[in-house]
């Protein structure tokens, strides 16, 4: 489990605390510029932040890089590539902390529907395909804590739903998955949501308890209305 206390990044994140148990699917919500990416980066130890981050009671940011890479995997919002590595090689980079043993690489490729693109250069993929490559790399690490920054943006409907299903599968295997999202409807089926507004945490808990019409209006500036809706899901 991961617990963060009073994570603070000047001007971007104001003393945010959170606690996620093992086997949990959680979402960070909030409008643009609310601090979602900063929170995920701070948790992953990728930017200097005040406060504490503990993994199973241990200060996560004092764990050496290689060991830390076996605990958490992070996927950034940018999925830009300058160098044309083949897809398989990029996914295999997920095994860096394990001496490049190549384990789980094929499974990760298959999980993100990339097997047929395995030999293509990442520079010759579409934005959504490239995003899936980076997600597959994170999956290949087998890390029990997955921090994904807007994994579903740039993805088509089907692949977006698959990502969510995959996250659910990871959770079932005992992983903790925390992702930032813009899709408030998708967030309804998460175990836990955390709403950020101007860097501060304005709500945390089960989605139906947190995402009240009042909060949605105040934070996102939208009026919520429950109605008959078009439901899209993966065919069984």
């Amino acid at each position: 489990m991961i617990a963060a206390r009073k994570l603070h990044v000047e001007g971007r994140l104001a003393e945010v605390s959170l606690e996620l148990p093992t086997g949990c699917l959680a979402a960070v919500l909030g409008p643009n510029g609310a601090g979602k990416s900063t929170l995920l980066q701070a948790l992953a130890g990728l930017l200097p932040a005040e406060g504490e981050v503990a993994w199973r009671g241990e200060d996560l940011r004092r764990i050496p890089y290689l060991e830390r890479a076996r605990i958490l995997a992070w996927v950034g919002q940018e999925s830009h590539a300058d160098f044309g590595f083949p897809v398989r090689e990029v996914v295999a980079q997920g095994r860096f902390a394990y001496g490049d043993d190549g384990r789980g690489v094929d499974e990760a490729l298959a999980a993100f529907d990339l097997a047929h693109l395995a030999d293509r250069a990442v520079t010759r993929l579409s934005g959504g395909e490239r995003r899936r490559v980076f997600l597959a790399r994170a999956l290949a690490t087998g890390a029990p804590l997955q921090l994904w920054d807007e994994p579903t943006s740039h993805l088509d409907v089907r692949h977006g739903l698959e990502v969510l299903e995959l996250a659910n599968g990871l959770k079932a295997k005992g992983a903790t998955v925390l992702m930032s999202l813009h899709d408030l409807r998708a967030a309804q089926c998460f175990d836990r949501v955390l709403v950020l507004h101007k860097g501060a945490c304005v709500g945390s808990g089960a989605p139906e308890a947190v995402l009240t019409p009042e909060l949605l209006l105040e934070v996102f500036g939208v009026r919520a209305r429950r109605d008959a809706d078009l439901i899209l899901e993966l065919p069984r």
Binding site: R70, W74, D82, F85, E89, Q93, F96, R137, T141
Partner: protein, 325 residues
Amino acid sequence: MSGRGLALLLALLALALLAALVFGEVRLAPGEIWDVLNGHGDATARTILLDFRLPRALVAMAVGAALACSGVLMQSFFRNPLASPGLLGVSSGGALGAVLAFAFGWASTSLWALPLASIAGAFLATVAVIALAREGASTEHLLLAGVALNALFGAGTSFVLTLKAGHFEEGGQILFWLMGGLESRTWEHVWISLPGVVLACLLVLPSARALNLLAMGEQGAQSLGVNVRRLRWELILLSTVLTALATAVGGVVGFVGLIVPHLLRLAFGPDHRRLLPLSMLGGAAFVLACDLVARTMPGQLRLGVVTALAGGPFFLWMLKRGGRS
């Protein structure tokens, strides 16, 4: 794939080295060369082979390997395939350092003064480029910073030379430092450059895997277990030292750090575990070949002119393609 590329480039390098020993102003029969290599031969042939052609070839290889390797490292550091020691002004900084060492007589105090001064100048340039264009900087940003630094350091070099060098020497010296050249290279130049270059190249190789990760993004690399801060320091240090050593013995030789890694990436992919050793071999063979052209063509082309003639059009083509490999 990797083995084939390595074998191909080793063969190319061996061929270039052989050509560098065989061809020159004075025609030596294969028998004479064989005699000299076996420790016999007449004095003139010995001097030509062992004191002219061999040290010059070794310096050419050191310069080529250093510049190509340095180019790969800078491209990783800036995550931009157009970054290279010549374009970013690091070579010019090294040349200014070397020229200062000459002008103030430090160069004659110790064998190490010249390369050290060159390294200091190159670091000045590197620090300036990093300040002007951060990692992942746009191509325009990098190139503009490079243009400014090249002009600045080039002017400094010319100024110091006109100020200090003997009147008749100015022209030749400015030409040497600004356009690169390998004429009159001796064993001393081999000792200045080759051991350092070999050492730095060996130190680079273990980082190849981490460089692959870095190439796909800095934060991603760190989250996967790369100590990015340390790696970036290593990159700066080694690429600058390599460029400086090359510049200290060969002047500003442009485009090697750009063309060689780029062509090898096109042929063998961007994996640094292959790219780094291949670039070292390829750079050495490329500069050897260019120097052979420079010294055997009529009209005394300069090495820097030959590499620029080969590299300039190539660079423009890359720029037009958007610099992606």
